[in-house]
Amino acid sequence: MSFYNRRKFLTTTAGAAGALAVANALGMPAFAQDRRIRHFWWGNPERDKRTLAVIDIFNGKNPGIVVEGETLGFADYFTKLTTQIAGGNMPDVIQMGYGVMFEYINNGAIVPLDDYVGKSLDVSKIDQSALDAGTVGGKLYAVSIGANSHVTMYNKRLYEAAGIKVGENFDPFGWTYDDLARIGKAIKDATGVAGTDDNTADYQNFSDFVGQKGAVMYTDGEYTVPQEVVEEYWATWKGIRDAGATVAAEETAALAGVAELAQTGLVTGKSATSFAWSNQLVGTQALMQDPIGAAMYPNTPAMLPGSIVQPSQFVCLTRDSKDAEAATTYMTAFVNDLDMTKVLGLERGIPSNPDVRAALEPQLTDIEKVSVAFFDGIQGKTAVLPPPPPSGANEVEQTFERLAVEVLIGGRSPSEVAADFLQQAKDIIGRA
């Protein structure tokens, strides 16, 4: 049973609609003739500015449809969405990431788009790989906004000050964790700023490392990372920390699990290197003065690929949408319309529509050029996209970040923590 009975809701709205009809018949102007669409995304100040501008363009071009933007930081986004699901008033169009999206699809909160394809929804120009990533069980559920990969962001000024030069003593597309320790130490010695953030409690880097060691995170819905890999990951970062390349362990512990760009060491000025998603280059540069450079995540000397290229974000249609046609019309424009995508730029990743990419080429800002060059650089060096993670994957990630703090600031030994983590991961997946 559901506490929010749809029929009950409909009778009340029907009453209101009836009153409106009477008002119309009497020749009074109706006040709500526009088809209203709500678009909800998580963002940062730069993204919010661009997205709201895009909504204005759309509303200008499409009389009769009014899109309203709603935005929150990443941490609060899903909390708000949950309450909206419970209340049966999710926005029409929501932003989703590769991962948690599949839980919403499995649970029916996001609905298939196939009925609208070729009508109000045009995805004919979207890269096939991007469409595949949003397809589950043969049905299209999500339209990719752009492609994304893990990126090491570094402060070019500090790197130069320490004599670190691309091509001489730094290979952004083939460096190792040992290189990171060496470079980080050099920067600390030369500038006094910590060389790098510490990724001990960073699940993104850990997931890369799992691939770099030839292991697989999920096999047939089971968590299959061997304990040695977890321990070796923490030992690797302990090596970098012990070399004097990182910010203080306590500092890292305080920020474990915090996903705000403004809190990264690169932006706060506490370190010269931070780790993020490549689409976040644009948003990060907007928060700081020194120019940012882009590199892949460090690797082991064996150079097995660990990073993947995946859609940064999708736009999805929710089951609460009352005007799917207007919503999909907006989604179409959001990924295809050249005026709109021009404003969005590369802030949500490299667009999945080749026409959009071509149109953006001449007007790229410096940081967007860095982003495009980064994508050229990683070609052939990334791993294949794994199948969607099972339900509970999101909680496994948070559990890793919570427990890894113990590795940073003492308590149990890393091998005990690793065993505990794997046990909890198993329990979470079993319980989901």
């Binding site: 949950t82 699990g257 948070q398 600031i409 308590g411």
Partner: protein, 297 residues
């Protein structure tokens, strides 16, 4: 008799707006959550009845539940007495005739008005940051302050201090209680050459006992339910190392981060029972140490 009913009917009629709100906004959701506590409910799909599974998991296998209890009990055990003692101390100082006493009272009450607010928690985070105000002050006297909020050995104590700082409302109640104690008793004690300490324990405490009891129960319930400070300071997760995993923070995470609304409802009911139990213990104990003037003892 008919007159009596009619008179009461009018009373209930005037109460209706409140009654409707109470039934729809309080009783309704409370009963719904009792039902949900026996279900698996992820918000997206309709709830599914699973009997006592939530409760057996909670008491049998949930290590974080036990951690949350430990953190919350520690907080209650230290924050409540510390706050009451501090509030009583300040009230006794303010009870003396000081110039511009009204101003002081207002100033001391201010933190409590800001009480549960987010702004205060953020302020606290700034104060206790690694490079925050507290550590800057410590540096002046040559002490290298710890990472208060990132170190599980200290993080909970910063929140205890935050709770003590918000001593305004028990202080006001104590102040009113102190005013009600007849001055003659102190004068008589003076004549008998009783020391101030003796006066405090022989006059102030016994006569203030009902007020102390009232404040104790109120503050204890509030401490069990404490949420916003820990939520903001730990970034919503109870970090570091679950040292700020207050019961309510854990409940919130289960409900809204992991979409286990059924389990979270069960957690809420267990918290209700815990609070009820401790309140009952307080009431039971009160007959041994609280005496009311109207009573014959």
């Amino acid at each position: 008799m008919t007159k009596f009913i009619r008179k009461n009917l009018a009373g209930y009629a005037f109460l209706t707006p409140w009654l409707i709100g109470f039934l729809l906004l309080a009783i309704g959701p409370i009963l719904a959550s009792l039902y949900l506590s026996f279900t698996k409910y992820n918000v997206i799909n309709p709830p599914r009845w699973i009997g006592l599974d939530n409760y057996t998991y909670m008491f049998g296998r949930d290590a974080r539940f036990r951690k949350a209890l430990q953190v919350t009990f520690t907080f209650v055990a230290f924050a409540v007495p510390a706050k009451l003692i501090f509030a009583l101390g300040v009230a006794m100082v303010l009870d003396k005739g000081i110039r511009a006493i009204g101003l002081y009272r207002a100033l001391f009450y201010l933190p409590s008005i800001l009480g549960g607010s987010i702004a205060v928690a953020i302020l606290w985070r700034q104060l206790f940051n690694a490079d925050g105000v507290i550590n800057s002050l410590l540096e002046l006297v040559g002490i290298n302050g710890p990472y208060w909020l990132a170190d599980p050995n200290y993080s909970l104590w910063t929140l205890v201090v935050l709770a003590v700082w918000q001593f305004g409302s028990p202080m006001l109640i104590f102040l009113a209680g102190l005013r009600a104690i007849p001055q003659e008793l102190y004068e008589a004690a003076e004549i008998d050459a009783a020391s101030k300490v003796k006066q405090f324990f022989a006059i102030t405490v016994p006569l203030l006992a009902p007020v102390i009891f009232f404040n104790l129960v109120l503050q204890m319930i509030e401490a069990f339910k404490s949420f916003s400070g820990a939520f903001i300071i730990s970034g919503g997760s109870g970090a570091p190392l679950d040292s700020l995993l207050f019961y309510t923070v854990y409940l919130f995470n289960e409900a809204f981060s992991f979409l286990r609304m059924g389990y979270a409802s069960a957690l809420a009911w267990v918290l209700l029972l815990i609070i009820a139990l401790f309140t009952a213990i307080a009431f039971w104990s009160s007959k041994y140490w609280v005496h009311y003037e109207s009573e014959r003892g």
